[in-house]
Amino acid sequence: MIHFVLLISRQGKVRLTKWYSPYSQKERTKVIRELSGVILTRGPKLCNFVEWRGQKVVYKRYASLYFCMCIDQEDNELEVLEIIHHFVEILDRYFGSVCELDLIFNFHKAYYILDELLIAGELQESSKKTVARLIAAQDSLVETAKEEASSISNIIAQATK
């Protein structure tokens, strides 16, 4: 299973974290610090796997961002590497050629998307189309609720004029 997902920028800034195994706040900070040290210093033409504390971290760099997922020693590394790519493709489709800034200002969207992709540290959906459809449906739900709210407040405003 995937124990956690980390998005770290090249400068070591955390852009997204998701923990599927229980880590305390202190442990989380420590993990991020340790792994940034290990992964950000690795050269470009090396393999995408790092052995770390008896587990493995599969990572891949996209532009300025490192996507990391920590798995068990016996898990299939390439499978997880392609989960990362799958995630990136979905982000790309949603934001329209995604960049780090998109993820900074819309980090909550990234969380929504990740939740449609992984649950319990396991892959939930491998169809990009399905994920896109579900996220769009969520967005429209939020939109509708907003419109309703504003129309209600209009009504109230008019009534109390």
Binding site: T17, G43, E51, G54, I119, Q124, S126
Partner: protein, 1015 residues
């Protein structure tokens, strides 16, 4: 840019981005936190929008790495908001901020449950996602049923069901009982017929988790998995959107093959053939392509297929095909593939006998040792270590030595240790061993622990042939200008003992040796100085004829150190000085050291010790055990006349073996105990300079020694439970094969150890089911005797053979069971005192003229008298500390453990009614658990235990168990051990526990014979 739709949030993020330095950022964050805090506290309620905004800000701040110690309540409270937008935020932020152990989560259980059982599909999705991501034990207790319903419901859409499947997987990890319901395995099999690929993928993950724990209920899923694999890999029968770079869902393929690896074998020949066809297709049909993602995905499938082939132990031909593929992989440029090639080769070595084919790739593997990537170098090192044997040890160790000078810090210690172990294990001759270790010290002295050079001294002392050679080598190294201190230690020790053997060689007169050693003295520390002083004294004794000049020099040194501040040095200086004047006495006192007693290698012990520091967290320990025992060192070049053999047996790790008879397994157990205490026996070996250090090393064994004394003779029955299963009970004699049990009786028994209802035994005519209830030290079974046939079962007899600690009362069993009828027989159990002994049910009946008799173990195991209790840190530790030392607290290092990940182990414990308290132990690799044991003699007794695992080697662990009762502590410890090392028998079991069937020829006219037959 500000797409977030929340202006306040965007502004805040921009502000943070504009901060010039960390200090400014902190100020901005503090300001915001202050703001949020006052807003949350203010009397005026916040609008949903505001609440949402602040909660997001909190998450953002938290992500930046700042402590956010308030506002969790607000996030959690949004979960129960009526509208979707707030609810969504509530769920997501809660699942990011909190982990499963957080108290606030408990408050949300009701709202979450309402969402799950409610009619709103989107709410269901949100709730399932959160529970799937952070649900803990309590969630699993209160929600599992509802989640199951959603997964099975035909009216739910796939988007809900796939989430339900993974949510259930999470709950199962937290508490395996959630699927301990009748018919769950059938449902799993049905779920595998699912057409929606999203649901199928999720269900497959669930199946992997279930079978990884225990596969025996899920045999019906196996052919379905093979069919899914055929559908994907052969027929490419998937909707377009589920192909990934042209490959039919690689993830589902990988998961399916993973699930198959948890079944010991594929028995049905048709299924097996289909499976191998698909695997062959994958092995042969995967080409390297340009597109990285396609390549990765197809190789993900390929590597999984490789492991499955290895697991199924295919025909030789297919195996060599696999090795050939791996050989290709380790030579490619693509680093990922190279890495995985090396990794899988190492795995392959462990499961099959392919050593010789892999050796052909040795040169290529050695090249990988120089790869620019440390991940790859580590794999190469592990592989070299694993493939090393007596034929290639010289080459491999020399490569390791060469690489040592170039290797980075992070790897040196591991490298040095591995080289030392291999040199010791596989040395073709002892001189070579000495060469290797001295080179090792020379090149990486900092990483050579004391044990390594102690070991050299032991070997040289015990092998007279070796002494001149070792002394000469030591002398050579002393010529080097800059020496590592360890080298000074070992060479001065060796020269002190044996330099007189070199006396006639140039540069080796006592005086020369003394002066070259003395040159090093100013540079050494106080731990080395005593060794030098002893060496001086010895050289002086051995100088024949006495050299007055040398004597004066040495005396001057002693004189100088007589007032040394270090007590050890001072004492030696004073004593040697006085002794030197005694003449003859000196010769006796400073005679050559006697041979060392046989002793296990401290090195290998170190490699096995789970406590060793994290520096060498790799497969080293595992390998140390798995490497086939070679006694190269013990036998080489030793003419039998050479007196006592050199130092000790090199094979130490005793993996509890599955032996087919009780005696062997018993003696094995004793043996391994003895092994454990080996070192502690005799360490009074006089004035070995480093005695203290060795003593410390050996002292680790202390607790094990205590255990041995506790060891009492165990009855055959108990000791078998671990591995041998049921063989002891039903002597397989005089049987005709007419009535065979259906299913594996031993496996059924083991399943019932973890749950309270199920089938205990089944054959073509009869099924015995049981259902049990437990309350403190009382238990109540109901036996369900079901006649499956269309004629009556006669002469039904059930006899309980209770062990001494159980009081068992079985109600009357009717003499006949009518056709197709079920009879219930209650059975009362009272537990008198802790014991692992088992009750046996002797059951027999007549079917027609066939007498069927079977002895069955009754799952009234120790763990049934345990009850969950969960303790907080404040409750646990004082108790833990108050119980100190044997016999109330026992510790043991257990090897040959069934490899389980921590969550799996926690699951196992929880299902044994040992409550695991996550987070109680600061070390994440440890498990701490508590439970209450009930028996008449002990009453309710709290038991605490700690398991220290080693992430690098899941096959061993250290276990500490304590309770207020010595017998209980011991029994519980042994019980847990049995559960951990229990290795399921490979599937084609030669029908264990066969019922004794005999068909006495009954003469219908002879009433006596009929009566005898009935009895």
């Amino acid at each position: 840019m500000a797409l977030s739709g929340m202006r306040g949030l965007s502004v805040f993020i921009s502000d943070i981005r504009n901060c010039q330095n960390k200090e400014q950022e902190r100020l901005r964050v503090d300001k915001e936190l202050g703001n949020i805090r006052t807003r949350f506290k203010s009397e005026k309620g916040l609008s949903p929008y505001e609440k949402k905004k602040y909660v997001w800000k909190m998450l953002y701040i938290y992500m930046l790495g700042y402590d956010v110690d308030f506002g969790h309540m607000e996030a959690v409270s949004l979960i129960s908001a009526p509208k979707y937008p707030e609810k969504q935020v509530g769920y997501i932020v809660t699942s990011c901020l909190l982990n499963e152990n957080h108290d606030f989560l408990r408050l949300a259980i009701n709202s979450v449950r309402n969402d799950i059982i409610g009619r709103n599909e989107t709410f269901q999705c949100l709730a399932l996602t959160m529970v799937g991501n952070i649900g803990g034990r309590e969630f699993s207790e209160s929600l599992a049923l509802d989640v199951q319903k959603l997964l099975l419901s035909s009216s739910c859409r796939p988007l809900v069901r796939k989430k339900a499947a993974l949510c259930l997987l999470r709950l199962y990890r937290k508490n395996p009982d959630v699927v301990n319901i009748d018919g769950w395995s059938d449902r799993m099999a049905q779920l595998l017929d699912e057409r929606d690929m999203g649901v199928l993928t999720a269900v497959m993950s669930l199946l992997v988790a279930l079978v990884s724990n225990s596969h025996d209920q899920y045999w019906s899923c196996l052919p379905k998995c093979v069919r899914i694999l055929e559908r994907l890999a052969r027929n490419h029968d998937v909707p377009q959107e589920y192909t990934y770079y042209g490959i039919p869902s690689p993830w589902l393929q990988v998961k399916t093959m993973r699930a198959l690896q948890y079944f010991p074998t594929v028995e049905d020949p048709n299924t097996r053939r289909s499976l191998f066809e698909v695997l062959q297709r994958i092995l042969m049909g995967t080409d390297v392509v340009k597109n990285v993602n396609k390549n990765n995905a197809s190789h993900a499938v390929l590597f999984e297929a490789l492991s499955l082939v290895m697991h199924l132990d295919a025909e030789k031909e297919m195996m060599s095909q696999c090795v050939a593929l791996l050989g290709k992989f380790i030579a490619v440029r693509e680093p990922n593939i190279r890495y995985l090639g090396l990794e899988n080769m190492t795995r392959m070595l462990m499961v099959t006998d392919v050593q010789d084919i892999i050796k052909r790739h040795q040169a290529q593997i050695i090249t990988s040792l120089k790869d620019p990537d440390i991940s790859i170098r580590r794999r190469a090192l592990d592989l070299l270590y694993a493939m090393c044997d007596i034929t290639n040890a010289k080459d491999i160790v020399e490569e390791l030595l060469q690489y040592l000078s170039a290797a980075e810090f992070a790897m040196r210690e591991e490298l040095a240790l591995k080289a030392a172990i291999l040199a010791e294990k596989f040395a073709p001759d002892l001189a070579w061993y000495i060469d290797v270790i001295l080179q090792l010290i020379d090149k990486a002295g900092d990483f050579v622990s004391d044990d390594i050079w102690f070991r050299v001294v032991q070997f040289v002392t015990n092998n007279e042939d070796l002494q001149p050679y070792a002394a000469a080598k030591a002398r050579e190294y002393l010529d080097k200008p800059a020496l590592h201190e360890t080298m000074v230690k070992v060479s001065s020790y060796l020269l002190g003992e044996y330099s007189h053997l070199l006396a006639r060689r140039p540069g080796c007169s006592p005086k020369e040796i003394f002066s070259i050693m003395h040159e090093k003295l100013p540079t050494v520390s106080t731990t080395t100085l005593p060794i030098l002083l002893s060496a001086y004294a010895k050289i002086l004794v051995h100088s024949q004829p006495p050299d007055p000049e040398l004597r004066d020099q040495v005396w001057a040194v002693f004189n100088k150190y007589e007032s040394c501040i270090d007590v050890e040095i001072q004492q030696r200086a004073v004593e040697y000085f006085v002794l030197c004047r005694k003449g003859a006495a000196l010769v006796d006192v400073l005679a050559e050291m006697p041979k060392f007693p046989e002793r296990q290698s401290a090195l290998i012990k170190k490699a096995e010790d789970p406590e060793t520091d994290a520096a060498e967290q790799s497969a080293i320990k595992l390998r140390a055990q798995q490497q086939q025992p070679s006694n190269a060192l013990v036998v080489t070049d030793q003419p039998p006349s050479n007196g006592p053999l050199p130092v000790g047996p090199l094979t130490l790790a005793k993996i509890p073996s599955i032996s087919s008879n009780v005696e062997t397994s018993l003696s094995d157990e004793r043996l391994s105990h003895e092994n454990g205490t080996f070192g502690a026996v005799d360490d009074s070996q006089s004035a070995m300079p480093s005695e203290g250090l060795i003593g410390d090393l050996l002292a680790i064994e202390g607790p094990a020694a205590a255990v041995t004394t506790e060891q009492k003779p165990v009855s055959g029955l108990e000791s078998v439970v671990g591995g041998v299963d049921a063989l002891a009970l039903a002597p397989v004699s005089e049987l005709s094969n007419s009535v065979q049990p259906i299913g594996n009786v031993a496996e059924r028994f083991h399943a019932l150890c973890l749950k309270d209802s199920g089938v205990l035994y089944e054959d073509p005519y009869l099924q015995i089911g049981i259902k049990a209830e437990w309350r403190t030290h009382h238990g109540r079974f109901v036996l369900f005797l079901g006649n499956k046939s269309t004629s009556s079962l006669a002469s039904v007899k059930a006899l309980m053979l209770p062990p001494s600690h159980l009081k068992i009362e079985l109600s009357v069993v009717p003499d006949t069971i009518p056709p197709r009828a079920q009879v219930q027989c209650p059975l009362e159990v009272v537990n008198l005192r802790p014991s692992r002994d088992l009750a046996v049910l002797d059951f027999s009946y007549m079917f027609g003229t066939t007498l069927v008799s079977v002895k069955l173990r009754l799952p009234a195991m120790l763990n049934k008298f345990l009850q969950h209790i969960s303790l907080s840190t404040e409750e646990f530790f004082p108790q833990w500390r108050s119980l100190s030392g044997p016999p109330l607290k026992l510790q043991e290092v257990v090897r040959g453990v069934k490899p389980l990940s921590l969550p799996e182990m926690a699951n196992l414990f929880n299902s044994l009614h040992l409550t695991v308290s996550p987070g109680l132990d600061p070390n994440p690799n440890n498990l701490v658990a508590s439970t209450t044991f009930y028996s008449e003699s002990t009453g309710a007794m709290l038991c605490l235990m700690r398991i220290e695992t080693d992430p690098a080697d899941r096959t061993q662990l250290r276990m500490t168990v304590s309770s207020g009762d010595a017998a209980l502590t011991f029994e519980l410890k042994e019980f847990i051990k049995e559960q951990l090392v229990y290795i399921p028998l490979p599937a084609p079991v030669p029908s264990p526990a066969q019922p004794q069937v005999s068909s006495p020829p009954i003469d219908p006219t002879d009433p006596g014979a009929i009566l005898a037959g009935l009895l």
